[in-house]
Symmetry: C2
């Protein structure tokens, strides 16, 4: 994986991919539109992948952008599940599993 990309980029990308509108996405992310534009451009440059087509007054996902929207969303969701389950383990809520984890987060859901 590119060693410059951070979660920030992925989250910003998903926001723009959902809104297809930089200003609105920036607003939702509580950052400025130029800041968002820069981070997306940085992500595109770093990956060497064009994520969006910027037209007249319309932003569209490229084909690769569509793929990444779906897959990255799933990946971040999975990571979120992992961290939430780790927190449960840490806090000892699920006592009987605390020292017996065998591999799947789905066991607690």
């Amino acid at each position: 994986m590119s060693n410059q990309i951070e979660f920030r980029h992925l989250k910003y990308f998903l926001a723009v991919a959902e809104d297809l509108h930089f200003r609105k996405a920036a607003e939702r992310l509580y950052i400025s539109q130029p800041g968002l534009s820069r981070q997306i451009k940085q992500m595109e440059d770093d990956l060497g992948i064009k994520l969006f087509e910027r037209h007249n007054r319309k932003v569209e996902l490229t084909e690769v952008g569509k793929y990444l929207k779906k897959e990255i969303k799933g990946n971040l969701k999975r990571l979120d599940d992992i961290l939430n389950y780790a927190k449960l383990l840490n806090d000892g809520i699920d006592g009987n599993l605390k020292f017996g984890y065998v591999g799947s987060v789905t066991k607690i859901s």
Copy 2:
């Protein structure tokens, strides 16, 4: 998910989890030992999860740390696959799939 954690933290965590030695892990990551210690502490504070037991002259993973080592490693690998496949799509190497993606990166492997 915690909104402060970045990939950096996860990569640093995996390095320490593998070496169980901050100085060696820092060396491998090409950063200083204090820098690494700080990032790991930051990750622990942010998640509210203790990842390592720092003993005498021995660092050990906590139970939750062991879980996270395994799961985060898998998650980052999956993300790496996603980005690599996206790059292939973008560069048009896999021409017949370029406009027909349906959901699984395993199709090309």
